[in-house]
Symmetry: D2
Subunit: 332 residues, 4 copies
């Protein structure tokens, strides 16, 4: 089959490789769509824990193509998506509801071969069937939404909370919709581009503010109950802290470069009764996210602004992501 | 001033009464709109704890008309609504976050004179200013939404939960929107009228089922994570219990006649890890509800299907509520 | 090896059976201690879902005797206990943190052969090593404590809550200690025997009340924040409901006979903002329970009032449990 | 009456002042015991928001001496303690369950005259009667325990969590007992004095570690689920962060000097799913704390190592707190 193989950082091409075969309890999927995210770029650039060579691709959908031993609840031809997360289910963290901290944590497309290929093999237990009204594009979008749902679980918002969100790129746009779905009232969004702010407002934000106008526009404002970073930029994080009101909650959703510290005054943490939270990947949130997408609680189709082919991928990664694209998906 | 006075059960009329005067820390409101709800009918019929004579009216909005001593944060002419709840702030329950169980609990329009009059006096601390974009109709709708928000706080839904709601009258329609705003995915609604089901689906339900078709339509269905009663009918409650899935949560929002028991099997409660919850009125949820309404997280304007005048009221209560009306508001 | 085999309801004896062998990812334990609980009596009497013939025993400890393929973190001779729960990890309920509602739910000693034998085979992932200071008796007590911890997770008590507990048999005595460990202040316990009440008071209850003196002794009392049933008697459940105060929580820990309904007034559920909860078995609470027992947060040694041998078992089950014994353990 | 008056920073003496009189809804207490805490030292040194002159004293107990208008539930001669917190009950934060962030926040002994005097006047709603078995020393100890309970509410520990606590002075010793009462299993405590570590172990900690031996003793340790600072020392906070395990919670209970930043890596916050929380004073936790103390869930008598008289106070504050004292109380 054809696959996009990253042989080493910055060295990637479409190659003819052997089709993977289904082991017991596994399913093989003929891939249709694969969402591309920051992690894929990190793998391409050698900034991630992946072994090389590797076939990336952890946000995907397709059609069942082969069924392994012991698998009885699926049939060939069914349209599906799958949670890429691989956990042992046996370690201390798996057994105390912290699956994303599994001692053997892995993920399809990150630590083992993924979906940027004609076929991908996955554990049957990770697979969800797409209902008729759900497109392959949506199917391949459940994975990022599952990260967002984990973020919402961490956040534990209260009805009526006033929120501010920094960064409304692909993830931020989903966070806008998710924040509305967990009860916020006002939702101010901040970004460097007018277009993205406008899109966020269309989908539930109450106000967009350009990052350059932040201080003047929010000068008179009561501080917020919820502050979320989805930029991954340390300077933005530092700034975001200043918007935390009494008993407010901060969510670190964006992934900052490792080792880039910000300043935190423990007196403020104490005195304002703050909650500063992180949210990492997926913790048994794939099924809830699936239900959200299937029922259009989070709409994602409009975020897929570009599709590419296997042949385009090498160049695509060379060029790097462009802000205009929001989500790019690979169409096999 | 003119006021609608219920002198005794089933004995009510518009009368000329003395204007109430503002005491310290109080505000007088020239009333614009008053929502009518089941409790008002109960007061009219003598089925509530009210003293007589009483002026009902606990869901209201209007314009500030007079300002009492010590009140500095309001000015005459401001458009406002107010939480009708009166609590002591001092008792065991007030001091352990159970204000709706205050040992001195009262409410404007229930235990003291309310807003079905040209003027009403309220504690300044209960008052919220309406932003420009918020109509008097919406202002008078914050109170029922505040009950709904308390229900959502009790419920504590998880992102992706599958829900079923019985009864989509005036409260049920708000619950539909609220359930979406706290994260449900699928939301089946059940009622006896097609119209109401259709309206619920328009505002976020995923499927409407006539109560007469319940068993056949849901026969194949996985049981639900959330079951809510908003009918207040014991037989519906009993039926609703049968839709509770593993580790599901049931919310008793509807008010059944006192003393009308249903059967509960404690084995099922245990074996399914169920949570059966009640939700009574407002517990510091007026401000969150206000924010939800002000930001259109819950839309209510379309539920106001009829307005009546002070002069209409006696006849209106005589006739009793009609299903078609959803919410009726008094326009002063 | 010797094993206690229940061939059919009321037909049980010690037999010589083949030693079970370790499959991959499994461990074989030379059994030391096995706690006997109500479920074992139900299996003996044919009142449980078990297949026959079966070797019961789901609360156990022992020494590792053989190690299966792929298991690297254990060695022969280590002292251990194990969670008897068998879940698929793959179904809808397993993947939404409701492992005790797994569609394939099973348990060692309930649905497959258990520990009332010289050897028992268990999945390696279920096994926990006993620290030196932890006795085999304590090791075999982690399982019931894990049920109690699940109950506490359901309950979600607040610091200072006032509680009443019905039934201080073997489980109730653990619940007393657990309720203290999740923050209750006053803790009234009710039972039919003075001795048990005294023991409960020794271990953290603040007052013991004989069930026959209930009404007179609690007549003047403020109603409770937390009410727990650990008798499994429907009449007690019905009575227990009457002690629920405003916004109180009820926990159904006791297992009542299936189909024995109690009366519930939905008006009360609504009007008091009640929470009625069930707690069924273990939901990823074996590790927390293990830590509680290992650190003496819940002390159990004094509840083991009787030990029996394999040879005693048939007679023991014939006689049925006696109130004086609290916990009986089998010593192999 | 005699009172200890701080006229200006570092200028304080016992003076004869007019007895304060009870206003409506108030109660006057003839003071018995007053706990002295860090805040009192800050007031003495001019490092707090207090106006001068002021009579400090916010942790107190005594006997009712006079009763104001409208107060019906108390009688002269009753033994009592009182929550020093003064909140408006009307502002945005009071009405959204954040009383400790009240826009008009004040406290007896901090912003108005307190209990270091023969008499003190307090709002009746703040008063709690001491049961017979509760000493004046314990009564004056409810206030700090109420801070600890707020900390526990913020923390929201799970049964079985493994915890480490830095600083076992007066507050840390209460935190040790409280952490046990909210479900921790292992509890490592760190301090600079062996004596305090030993005392902590006596009251529920599982291990004491000298701060100088921290790295070597915990080198092999699994990271913790809960990390609490009760030193208020920024360098300790920075160190404490390194003990946070996957999905761990950090509680800033200690009060660091304002403006003394520590370094926080947002990548770690994200990647470990951390929760960093603050806990400031009392948020409707006086009643729960009262119940905990009254029922000996938190024992405090042994922490009162020294009592002083009004006449001793000036010298006492001049000398500053000494580590050996744990809690010093003023005996009037
Ligand atoms: N927590 C998780 O599990 C998880 C999962 C997936 C992704 N992530 C992280 O989430 C973050 C967002 O991902 P993404 O795919 O949405 O990336 P993205 O498309 O690059 O979004 C970041 C957005 O922030 C904007 N931005 C840049 N500077 C800003 C500033 N000073 N103030 C406000 N906005 C600013 C960017 O604008 P320009 O593009 O014009 O610069 C962009 O629109 C990344 O850090 C990613 O690694 C986390
Ligand atoms: N918890 C609280 O704080 C709170 C606050 C306000 C109101 N409530 C209670 O909430 C409930 C709903 O109030 P509401 O104003 O929405 O009343 P409503 O307009 O009468 O709504 C009840 C709805 O249930 C429908 N219904 C009747 N029989 C049914 C059946 N067998 N199955 C399904 N639906 C059925 C009714 O249809 P028809 O009208 O055609 O019969 C109606 O549409 C009431 O019990 C009210 O007292 C509670
Ligand atoms: N939720 C779970 O996961 C789980 C797990 C294990 C067990 N359980 C259940 O928990 C319950 C308790 O188990 P157990 O082993 O402790 O049983 P147990 O030893 O029989 O305890 C029940 C206690 O209740 C007493 N009692 C009887 N009538 C009473 C009354 N009217 N008022 C108050 N107390 C009364 C009994 O006294 P006498 O013995 O003198 O009659 C006995 O001390 C059982 O129903 C069991 O099935 C539940
Ligand atoms: N959050 C709230 O609402 C609240 C309420 C009350 C108090 N507080 C704060 O809580 C903190 C503790 O109060 P406290 O009255 O218990 O004070 P404390 O008696 O001074 O306790 C601090 C303890 O930390 C020890 N310590 C010093 N250096 C240390 C190190 N490197 N590692 C570990 N321990 C070290 C101290 O030992 P030495 O005494 O020998 O130096 C002392 O035993 C203070 O910051 C106080 O302001 C907060
Ligand atoms: Zn794992
Ligand atoms: Zn009250
Ligand atoms: Zn399962
Ligand atoms: Zn306030």
């Amino acid at each position: 089959m054809k696959a996009f193989v990253v042989e080493a950082p910055f060295k990637a091409s479409v190659q003819e490789v052997a089709e993977p075969a289904c082991g017991p309890d596994e399913i093989r999927i003929a891939v249709e769509r694969v969402g591309i995210c920051g992690t894929d770029h990190h793998i391409f650039k050698g900034e991630f824990l992946s072994p090389y060579p590797i076939i990336p691709g952890h946000e995907f959908s397709g059609t069942i193509d082969q069924i392994g031993e012991n698998v009885s609840s699926f049939t060939v031809g069914e349209r599906v998506t799958a949670d890429p997360t691989l956990v042992c289910g046996a370690c201390y963290y798996c057994q105390t509801q912290r699956f994303n901290h599994c001692e053997q944590w892995g993920a399809i497309g990150n630590t083992v071969n993924g979906a940027m290929a004609e076929k991908v093999v996955v554990p049957a237990k990770n697979v969800m069937k797409l209902p008729d009204q759900m497109s392959f594009g949506e199917g391949a979008f459940v994975e990022p939404v599952a990260c967002v749902v984990h973020g919402m679980n961490q956040l534990n918002a209260k009805a009526g909370d006033r929120a501010i969100l920094f960064g409304v790129g692909a993830m931020g746009q989903q966070l806008v919709q998710a924040l509305v779905k967990v009860g916020v009232s006002e939702l101010t969004v901040v970004d460097v581009e007018e277009d993205k702010l406008a899109l966020a407002v269309e989908w539930g934000a109450t106000r967009g503010v350009l990052s350059t106008h932040l201080d003047e526009e929010l000068a008179e404002e009561r501080l917020f109950d919820i502050v979320v970073d989805a930029t991954g930029i340390p300077a933005v994080v530092q700034k975001a802290f200043t918007f935390l009101g009494p008993a407010a909650t901060y969510l670190q959703f964006g992934v900052t470069p490792q080792g880039s510290n910000v300043q935190l005054d423990p007196f403020t943490l104490y005195h304002k009764d703050l909650k500063l939270l992180g949210s990492m990947a997926i913790n048994q949130t794939f099924i809830p996210a699936f239900h959200w997408v299937a029922n259009q609680r989070v709409s994602v189709e409009h975020l897929i602004r570009r599709t590419v082919t296997l042949e385009d991928l090498a160049q695509y990664f060379q060029d790097g992501p462009t802000a205009k694209d929001m989500k790019t998906q690979l169409q096999i």
